[in-house]
């Protein structure tokens, strides 16, 4: 369970990115964070990963206030989460397999675990047969699926996706959404920041709208419905 309690985030330059945000997300939920560009969606994800510190307020993850954990504990916090970005962030000089394997090595998995687990996740995203290819030989959708496999390979309980379909055409975007939905069905909590109207409308998930750093709407089975500022 994730809970933001009166979270305010002011960046060093004085920008107020989040203003007293309160938000509760249960295990296994699928939540869209919507809002126009600059609303504060990415800041929410960064605070969850402790890439940014809150200015005030608390953020509970499974009952623990993660704004209080020490620098040393941050890597272990991040291992509970998988993350994907709009720009995929793959290592260009490594194959699909190696990109996914990389994530397991970092957490100290044994060779045997790696050999067993990597094909399983590649299969989950439908890229088994392209394991030996380099990212540049893949389409955008396929690259994002590699990023997804990398995010999932260490079995995180939460998946954070920041505009994962932003660089993809609508059809490819829907393929990614199908995978996300499958992962969600298997119990992973999914938090996805997006301003892809069609996707949000079609998926009928919980929608949390942020505007100027405030939560202005929170509805289950909602639609995109963001008013341009």
């Amino acid at each position: 369970m994730i809970e933001f309690k009166d979270v305010t985030k002011e960046y060093d330059n004085g920008t107020l990115a989040l203003d007293e945000v309160n938000l509760k997300i249960e295990n296994g939920e699928f939540v869209f964070l919507v809002g126009s560009s600059g609303a504060g969606k990415t800041t929410v994800t960064k605070i969850l990963m402790r890439e940014e510190n809150v200015t005030s307020g608390q953020v509970y993850l499974y009952g623990e206030d993660i704004t209080k954990i020490s620098q040393k504990e941050i890597p272990y916090l991040r291992r509970k989460m998988g993350v994907v970005f709009q720009d995929f962030r793959l290592l260009e000089d490594r194959t699909v397999y190696e990109n996914v394997e990389f994530a397991m090595r970092i957490v100290g998995a044994s060779r045997r675990e790696i050999r067993r687990r990597v094909p399983v996740v590649l299969n989950m995203v439908g890229l088994n047969y392209k394991a030996k290819m380099l990212p540049k030989e893949l389409s955008g959708g396929e690259q994002q699926r590699v990023a997804l496999a990398r995010a999932l390979v260490n079995n995180p309980s939460i998946l954070i996706a920041d505009e994962p379909t932003g660089n993809l055409n609508p059809k490819t975007a829907m393929e990614i959404m199908e995978i996300l939905d499958n992962i969600n069905q298997m119990g992973t909590t999914i938090i996805m920041a997006t301003h892809a109207k069609e996707i949000v409308d079609v998926m009928k998930k919980r929608v949390v709208e942020i505007r100027d750093g405030k939560v202005v709407r929170d509805e289950v089975g909602g639609e995109y419905n963001v008013q341009p500022v």
Binding site: P75, R89, L91, F102, I106, V107
Partner: protein, 299 residues
């Protein structure tokens, strides 16, 4: 916490980084090797000068000449007075008769005409004591005390020579230390630059590692290993060259016929220099990479 698979990963990452950095790695390896070579040169010289000074100290003697015509009892007495002076380690009597006989029967045998018309009664030599001092640096003081003894004609000492040797060895030591420090700093800057380049080249990878939950240590250790590898390879290379050079040069020196000063043997020197080099290599590697990580690797 740091299991085998992580260690293997760190080492292989460091090796990859070294190779990917290619030219830069070779350039820094070359410079480190040169630095350590110069360092080794100074260490070798330092050690030899030191050993020579030690030898000199052991041979630190003054010759005390007594006035002619004093009795044998007085001569023995003077011996006792010499022992009473501090800093005297040993003394040995040379009588005029002894010296005369030595000159006549050994040195100038068959060429007596060379030393003129001397007879045993008209002996040109004086009775003297050879005095060995305990501490070379107190020579002046001891000599002045010795000269206060009655019936002492004069004292000869090698003070000037000893002073020169002491001064030279001090200068060599100081210069060596200054040069060592400079070279240490230069080497660290070079390694730190190489590692900085790696950090820059790998910044995307480092960023991804952070998102995935790599610990600080896990991210940093390959860079430390990279620095240490450069340091140790440089140390081994320069150690090899110094060894080869020292063995070759000391052979030449021994065969030259001018081998007045005894050199420290290579077998005595090697362990010291070897350990020193590897330690230096590790140290500059660790510190060099630490510097650039603290500056460029905000984890």
């Amino acid at each position: 916490m740091f299991n085998l698979s992580k260690v293997r990963y760190s080492v292989s990452q460091a090796k990859k980084n070294l190779i990917r950095n290619g030219l830069m790695s070779i350039a820094s390896l070359f410079t480190i090797t040169c630095c350590l070579l110069i360092l080794g040169l100074f260490t070798v010289i330092s050690i030899n000068v030191n050993s020579y000074t030690e030898q000199m100290k052991d041979q630190c003697e003054v010759q005390l000449y007594m006035t002619n015509g004093i009795t044998d009892e007085r001569i023995t007495q003077i011996g006792e007075e010499i022992v009473a002076v501090s800093n005297v380690k040993a003394f040995e009597l040379y009588t005029r008769e002894e010296l005369y006989n030595y000159a006549m029967n050994d040195v100038f045998k068959g060429r007596e005409e060379l030393i003129g018309e001397y007879t045993e009664e008209d002996n040109p030599f004086s009775d003297s004591y050879k005095i060995t001092l305990a501490d070379i640096s107190l020579t002046e003081q001891t000599v002045s005390e010795l000269s206060k003894i009655a019936d002492v004609d004069h004292i000869e000492n090698k003070q000037d020579m000893t002073n020169i040797v002491l001064t030279v060895s001090n200068v060599v030591k100081k210069v060596s230390i200054v040069i060592m420090i400079i070279l240490l700093l230069v080497s660290m800057v070079i390694i730190s630059n190489t590692v900085r380049l790696t950090v820059f080249n790998r910044r995307k990878e480092i960023n991804i590692m952070k998102y995935i939950g790599a610990t600080d240590a896990f991210i940093r250790i390959p860079f430390v290993i990279e620095g240490v590898m450069i340091g140790i390879i440089g140390a081994l290379l320069s150690f090899g060259m110094i060894s080869w050079g020292y063995i070759a040069l000391s052979k030449m020196y021994l065969n030259s016929g001018f081998d007045v000063v005894e050199l420290v043997s290579y077998t005595q020197l090697a362990p010291f220099i070897g350990i020193l080099f590897v330690l230096f290599g590790c140290l500059i590697g660790v510190i060099g990479s630490a510097i650039s990580m603290n500056k460029y690797l905000k984890v």
